[in-house]
Symmetry: none
Subunit: 417 residues, 2 copies
């Protein structure tokens, strides 16, 4: 089954609100096995609504409209629906009763606008709105279903969950969809695409692959469509198992997993605590870690050492190293990691030092130069990065690279056992 | 001028991401005097892209496409554009040069996929992408403009700001617009509106005022429209000068200024350094501060003390206070601020301690309870907040509230002098 979502209202078209309704509906529809073919945002204008309905009818089996059903604006949508279906508005007594009850509860007398919300096109099936006054409306024409819902998010969500989705299942026209996103880090998108080419080309045609780039991570989304969800899930997991063999170390999680959360799980398994020393990342690395609920179970804390004095006094970095190699150096990164590991009583530590920019670079150490050091119970790793001259992105990338190197060390320690 | 925004890519249609790009573009276009007629999200499928382009051409004067321009094989926008314009892909040397330079800086050799990003339809005007590899493309056909942009938000925004909007002005179909946003803090919106009423009513009709609510500040956006940008700019600055006289202390910055940057300017004037001690904010407060370029001139660093041991050893919090009042208390917040001020050799310090959630709350101290303390050379301030049970939002609000309290203390110290 193919669907189009049409949102009616000027708020989205002037950029005043972000269209979160459509994203939520699209997710629910996909999970129910309905492919969302298009999302269209239009003005609350009679001709525009008619044009959108006509276009949608030729393309899809299900049209979902939201918005334009409040007491002041629902006139436009309902009149357009009447014109489209060659229908007329009639009073729906159960809805009027429901509206009266709602307002009695709030001790307000209903006015003409409230009363008119109980007017619905004669041919539609009325979908009761448990959360508000405007009902949903369900139409069928030329093998296409049309469903009109209010735009208030919690009313729309209640109608979708209680009325629309259960009714769709009974049509028997939906097919199942299964999505799983594989999170990878450490291999640039273009190189990853090369390494996975043979695997990708051998994917069955009903399993589609999409590369979703984000800074420092590449997400691979597999989408399988077919008759049975459990079979699709098994097939997708089978493909992901092959993927794990191709790029075992690059995969750090699935779907909404965070790198810091993946590290937390590894540390919890080992019963080890983590500490952080930051210079150029300025607290962001610690923030990524403490964004994980329950981080206090495996994280003791961090020192952001912006000044050299703090590096020396709190992290025991030697003055000699700072003078000889500079604050942005492999040596200082190592001493920071060792220092914070000891001072904060942790089994693992990670340290960053670099030039976030936009100023502070030199020919030898340009803006974007970052040293990362990670230290474990037995050994340590260091890595140098040269990013670009965007401060915000450098902080982000350095922090994520630091987590990546930390993960590498913990994995090496696991294999050594 | 009427526009349609077309976003290409499955992420929006499966509800994986919310379409924030279109909202941003719609806002910018509206401010530039372009009416957004429709926003359409479609699959990255050849036929679907062609159909959307054909529909748009009949309805609007300007079609903006985003997404579908990354280096991997699911990117078919350029081929669809060639089919639509009866065009062919040719190598654009300046883009190839730009790509090579970007990768040289990162010490990565470009592969065929990167190289192919420099292929563009022959008839288009190439719009240089200052933030990434994929260029923008500008076409004209039958009096309609078509602009294709990458979907990565910061690349799209840079191309819109640097290339698309300035070029639209030269078409003569849009009018010049100048925006400036005044950032205020400390006066609630309703009181601010009262204090500014006379000034607002005296604004010339071509300068519009909008109150933009945000969680921690009230932003006042002035939008001037007319023929000449430099005149609009001068007129707007004149009005803002009057505003400054009305609410001198409430204004902490303009446009994209951050509260932390405003604090940095105050500290630089005083020649004072800042240090931070964090518990519940976990590094985010330090991150907000170090996001400001040049923060090293007025910031020595921070300690994130997740464990009580770190609070005692690094911040000199007394074991007695931790036992008597608990880690989330006014007393411990004060000791953390005093401790970090001394240990990190700063004139000012700010500390946070609280329960970010989702677990860890009690009847007496529910999730969302946060104590903030700020200490200066002579005195200190404390404040208690009770936010809600969303970890991410609690971290954000606690960090921003801490900066506000810090600004208040510094301003009080200034007035005392």
């Amino acid at each position: 089954m193919k669907a189009e979502i049409i949102t009616i209202g000027d708020e989205i078209l002037i950029g005043q609100i972000v269209d979160t309704n459509s994203a939520w509906m699209a997710e629910q529809l996909n999970l129910a096995g309905v492919e969302v073919y298009q999302i269209t945002s239009i003005h609350d204008q009679h001709e525009h609504i008619l044009e959108a309905l006509q276009n949608a009818e030729t393309n899809v089996d299900l049209v979902l409209l939201t918005g334009g059903l409040g007491p002041t604006k629902d006139d436009i949508t309902k009149k357009a629906l009447c014109a489209f279906f060659n229908d007329r508005l009639v009073l729906h007594e159960p809805t009027l009763h429901h509206i009266r009850n709602l307002f009695k509860h709030r001790s307000i007398v209903i006015n003409q606008l409230n009363h008119d919300q109980a007017l619905v096109p004669e041919t539609c099936t009325v979908l009761p709105n448990s959360q508000g006054t405007a009902p949903g409306m369900w139409f069928e024409q030329n093998n296409t279903l049309f469903v009109s819902l209010p735009g208030v998010p919690f009313e729309m969500k209640a109608l979708m969950t209680e009325q629309v989705l259960p009714r769709l299942v009974t049509t028997g026209k939906t097919q199942a969809i299964f999505h799983k996103t594989v999170l990878t880090q450490g291999i640039p998108e273009s190189m990853l695409a090369e390494r996975l080419e043979t695997w990708e080309n051998a994917l069955p045609p009903h399993i589609r692959l999409a590369y979703l780039p984000s800074p420092m991570a590449v997400r691979l989304r597999l989408s399988a469509t077919g008759a049975k969800l459990d079979i699709l899930k098994a097939e997708t997991e089978q493909e992901i198992a092959k993927l794990r063999e191709l790029i075992p170390d690059a995969i750090y999680g699935y779907d909404d997993d965070q790198m810091a959360g993946a590290i937390g799980r590894l540390l919890t398994e080992k019963g080890a605590m983590l500490a952080v020393a930051e210079s150029c990342t300025g607290g962001y690395l610690s923030h990524l870690i403490t964004s994980v609920p329950g981080a206090s179970g495996w994280y003791t804390g961090s020192v952001t050492a912006y000044s050299n004095q703090v590096k020396m006094e709190l992290l025991d970095v030697s003055e000699e190293s700072l003078q000889k190699f500079g604050a942005v150096s492999e040596q200082v990164a190592c001493e920071m990691a060792m220092g914070v590991k000891k001072a904060l009583h942790a089994g693992y530590a990670v340290a960053t030092t670099g030039i976030a920019g936009p100023t502070g670079g030199s020919e030898e150490k340009p803006v974007g130069t970052v040293w990362v050091a990670v230290a474990g119970p037995a050994k340590f790793l260091t890595q140098k990065f040269v990013f670009d001259n965007n401060r915000e992105r450098n902080i982000l990338r350095a922090s994520q690279s630091a987590l990546q190197l930390l993960r590498k060390l913990i994995l090496q320690d696991q294999q050594a056992v």
